[in-house]
């Protein structure tokens, strides 16, 4: 639902149907709403059966990568080794705030999904890694886990199945990079949150060297519904002509929009209707200029481009961007795109873990150039430098934070060139700053004296 707004009739509230409903947070309330029936059903099935249903359902990872979930689970075989499930609740992608709502309004829904998934991948222990800033979600999740243990849903004999399922909450401490699955594992192990080189892949050697599956909160929250209602039910959400993207997705909408919040729609929903109808369009007296549809790491769209897009993996790819995490950031005509892109690169520079040369130095260098341009001290050669740096930062590092920093710069320069050029015009009228090169055409310090 368009929480905190009322549900729009064109939404498909599955995960979000209880957002804003305080009763749904308790065990009793969750059970009254049909909770834990899916888990009960699952525990009576063979894990392979569950893996097959999820595979058939077409569920794809909702954290941003869109990897088919059932396929990911199928990498975990009954090999007698200790397996782990990690739930990625590190939600830090700018523009994204859906997992927070799932955890604070339907914590038992996530507990159920985590327990179900753990069982399906032959794991007895699951960790829910929640970013350190999410105080309320942490509190709600801990309360829910405690209730679940007290009621025998978790523990040595989950729901009387004879199977052990343990869930532990692990609090992060402020690092966007820990949302990268291998960095999350390192952080859980008590290390710096550095992404790992692959191979080895987590399903072979992950947490504590054991086979591990990492899934996003939204992905895991969807699993019980799929097991309960079946794969065919899930596939009914989506475009008839695109079976690769099915189910519902929570889109977090923020920025310069009338009704910011989380909206749950079937994949393939037309973006134009979404922005103007469901979300209320631009604020009064303003017009939308740019939209980032999938969290800050995906290419920026102009309004025209976004209005022609369909909201699924292939639909966004077709207009040159990505669905990503589904964090929709809206920029209106009052925004300075150069300044905001500079602010984004500053975010990435702050979050770089420092392992890869390109990212460590490139994010910081890009930011300094962008801020210099934004402050009006840029030159046109800076554009070429920025694009060259972006090229050198893409496809060459352990993780994609480096690529993510380059993306807004490249798409920004491409689609908002005019705003960048205008900044150069400003610099031409300025006297050179000490220590920086004279902007072209500007009077030199000597002559200005």
């Amino acid at each position: 639902m368009g929480y905190p707004h009322k549900s729009h009739e064109r939404e498909s509230p599955v995960l979000s149907q209880y957002f804003g409903d305080p009763e749904a947070r308790t065990l009793a309330g969750w059970r009254a709403r049909g909770g834990y029936e899916a888990l009960q059903k699952a525990l009576a099935m063979d894990p392979q059966e569950i893996q097959t249903i999820v595979k058939d359902s077409g569920l794809r990872g909702r954290g941003g990568a869109g990897f088919p979930t059932g396929l990911k689970w199928s990498f975990m075989k009954p090999d007698g080794k200790t397996h782990y499930l990690a739930c990625n609740a590190d939600e830090s992608e700018p523009g994204t705030f859906k997992d927070r709502e799932i955890m604070r309004w339907t914590p038992h829904g996530l507990v159920e999904g985590v327990a179900l998934a753990a069982y399906a991948i032959y794991a007895e222990t699951a960790y829910i890694y929640i970013r350190g800033e999410f105080t309320e979600p942490i509190m709600r999740m801990e309360a829910a886990v405690q209730e679940a243990y007290a009621a025998g849903i978790l523990g040595a004999n989950a729901l009387g199945s004879g199977k052990r399922i343990d869930i532990h909450i692990h609090r992060g401490a402020g690092a966007y990079i820990c949302g990268e699955e291998t960095a999350l594992m390192n952080s859980l192990e008590g290390r710096r949150g550095n992404p790992r080189i692959k191979p080895p892949f987590p399903a072979v050697a992950g947490l504590f060297g054991k086979p591990t599956t990492i899934n996003n909160v939204e992905t895991l929250a969807a699993a019980p519904y799929i097991v309960k209602h079946g794969a065919e039910w899930y596939k009914q959400f989506g475009r008839a002509d695109n079976p690769k993207s099915v189910g519902t997705k929570l889109f977090s909408v923020c920025g310069n929009i009338s009704r910011p919040g989380n909206y749950e729609v079937a994949l393939g929903f037309p973006f134009k209707d979404f922005l103007h109808d469901l979300c209320g369009g631009a604020l009064p007296g303003r017009s939308i200029k740019a939209v980032i549809p999938g969290g800050s790491s995906v290419p920026i769209l102009t309004l025209e481009e976004s209005e022609s897009a369909l909201m699924d993996y292939e639909g966004f790819a077709a207009v040159g961007t990505l669905l990503g995490s589904g964090g929709v950031i809206v920029f209106d005509d009052k925004q300075d795109m150069v300044k905001q892109i500079a602010r984004l690169t500053r975010f990435y520079a702050h979050e770089s873990c420092a392992q890869c040369s390109q990212c460590r130095e490139g994010t910081a260098w890009t930011t300094r150039i962008m801020e210099r341009i934004s402050a009006g001290y840029g030159t046109s050669e800076d554009f070429d430098t920025l694009l060259s740096i972006a090229e050198n930062m893409s496809g060459k590092t352990i993780c994609v934070l480096s690529d993510s920093c380059a993306t807004p710069v490249v798409s920004g320069l491409k689609k908002f060139r005019g705003e960048f050029e205008a900044k150069i015009q400003i610099s031409r009228n300025k006297v050179a700053m000490p220590g920086l090169p004279t902007p072209p055409g500007a009077p030199s310090r000597a002559s200005a004296a």
Partner: protein, 521 residues
């Protein structure tokens, strides 16, 4: 075996090998920083990116295993562009310190930038500055120059098992840090200076002493203890300025300890014996070699010769001394100082050994006896031949029974200043060529690194002449001649050939070796 093509050259390598190591086997160097064969793979510097046909992204050669049929291009335009990019990024904050940086001339950042980097800088922002830090031990950390390859962190953690270095902070604020009260006083910590590809970690001892291109180098063996680490002695204008490890998989892998590193200083001492001397009424007088050798032989004539030797003497010198003792019915003894053993846990069978001398093993193999104190060694009338032992803690009563004392050595022991009858000056380990035997019975060659002072001669040369002066018939022209004689005479060294020892050495057949897992080859 896996067959693949690297830069057009066919390679056939064991499964599981990385592309970078496979490239080495066909003589192709893939530029890299964070990779080191002695350390776990990190894959962070991104310098080793190569193009693999049919693979969309460039592959980090250190972290990618070979696959059958792979076609790898190290110098394709894409790979070169990517590496050029990495070099540019590394030089963003790296200061242009070359004129004042010790690493110049042996700096991998310089080398690869010359080979593959940009000719100009596109940086228009001020560079950051961070101050230098003392890491304890012999190590200085110039934060500003660090490229965060993390070799030092991984070495201390995974090889030295002493994780006192960390990466602190994040992003371009990151640096190598340590904690108050924990530092690099670990005897193996000096290796991080060698491992550092740039001038971020420097030896305080070597600071500003010499330029890398001014150095002459000679392969040698460390004499600090009985491990026998393979080293390189580096000299500038015939003065030793540095000792660095050289790689030997069977002995020390890539490492040397700080005790060994600093041992080069002993070879530079100035109070050297430089001329042959004979004592007369007016004290020790300089004479020529023939006179001195004749005087020594005369002092030994008809007497038992007891030889007190340094356990750092070469196999060749010890063999000749054993011959001297044998032909006079005498004896040979040695003392060896001890210190605490400090293993390098991440390498099998590598430690700073308790026995702080390089050749006590050979001394034992050749029949010398280890003693604690000198008293009681001499019988009345014995002649004493002291060979490079400083006679520490000896007193007059220990020597009073000697009919005459002949000194062959590098410096004058205090107690012999007024007592030595004949002095024969000798070269030290850095000034001659020969072999040494480590605690596992590995016989290894060392080469000459600098000239001996005055007219001092190699130890085997002096002793060979002395033996001849005493009536021996063998003539030795080269250390290999002496070695061959030793092999012929002593079964403990049977089958060894001086010219086949190479730079890795060979095990003596009678090696008192303990074969450890993956250790002795």
């Amino acid at each position: 075996m896996v067959n693949l093509t690297i830069e057009g050259r066919p390679a056939s390598v064991p499964e599981g090998l990385s592309i970078l190591e496979a490239a080495k086997t066909v003589g192709v160097l893939v530029p890299h920083y964070c990779y080191h064969p002695g350390l776990p793979v990190a894959g962070v510097c991104r310098m080793c990116l190569v193009e693999v046909e049919k693979v969309p992204k460039l592959a980090p050669a250190c972290a990618t295993s070979v696959l059958e049929g792979q076609v790898v291009h190290v110098h394709s335009p894409k790979a070169l562009e990517a590496r050029k990019g990495v070099l540019e990024f590394l030089l963003i904050n790296h200061p242009l310190d070359c004129p004042i940086c010790d690493q110049a001339g042996e700096c991998e950042l310089q080398d690869y930038t010359f080979a593959e980097g940009r000719a100009d800088s596109r940086l228009r922002e001020p560079k950051r500055f961070t101050p230098t830090e003392d890491f304890g031990g012999d190590v200085l950390y110039v934060t500003n120059r660090c490229i965060l390859c993390t070799r030092c962190v991984r070495f201390m953690s995974e090889v030295a098992h002493d994780p006192v270095l960390n990466v602190s902070e994040r992003g371009d604020r990151a640096f190598i840090g340590k904690a108050e009260g924990e530092d690099l006083t670990n005897p193996w910590a000096g290796n991080v200076v060698d491992l550092c590809p740039v001038g971020a970690l420097l030896s305080k001892d070597f600071l500003n002493k010499a330029r890398a291109w001014e150095l002459d180098r000679a392969p040698s063996i460390c004499t600090g203890c009985s491990q026998g680490c393979n080293v390189v002695l580096e000299t500038r204008d015939d003065v030793l300025v540095r000792l660095k490890p050289r790689s030997n998989p069977s002995v020390n892998h890539y490492y040397a300890c700080d005790v060994g590193r600093m041992s080069y200083r002993t070879f530079n001492r100035r109070d050297r014996l430089q001329q042959p001397q004979i004592r007369s009424g007016r004290g020790l007088q300089n004479v020529d070699w023939e006179e001195a050798l004749a005087a020594a032989a005369k002092a030994f004539a008809g007497r038992r010769v007891v030889v007190v030797v340094s356990p750092n003497l070469s196999n060749e010198a010890l063999f000749l001394l054993e011959r001297i003792a044998a032909r006079t019915g005498g004896a040979g003894v040695f003392r060896v100082s001890q210190g605490p053993e400090v293993p390098l846990p991440g390498v099998p069978d590598l430690a700073l050994r308790e026995e702080r001398a390089a050749n006590a093993t050979a001394a034992r193999m050749l029949g010398f006896t280890e003693i604690g104190a000198l008293n009681g060694v001499l019988r009345d009338g014995d002649a004493l031949l002291v060979v490079d032992d400083a006679l520490v803690n000896a007193d007059a009563s220990d020597l009073s029974r000697a009919s005459a004392i002949v000194l062959v050595g590098t410096a004058m022991p205090d107690i012999l200043a007024e007592r030595a009858a004949v002095v024969l000056p000798m070269a030290n380990t850095a000034e001659e060529e020969g072999t040494l035997t480590n605690l596992r019975g590995r016989v290894q060659r060392f080469m000459q690194a600098k000239a001996a002072p005055g007219v001092a001669r190699p130890s085997w040369y002096v002793l060979g002449d002395l033996l001849q002066a005493m009536g021996g018939t063998e003539q030795y022209y080269l250390p290999s001649d002496v070695f061959a004689a030793m092999v012929h005479t002593h079964p403990a060294f049977a089958g060894l050939n001086y010219h086949a020892l190479g730079l890795m050495g060979a095990l003596a057949p009678d090696a008192m070796a303990t074969v450890t897992a993956g250790g002795v080859n």
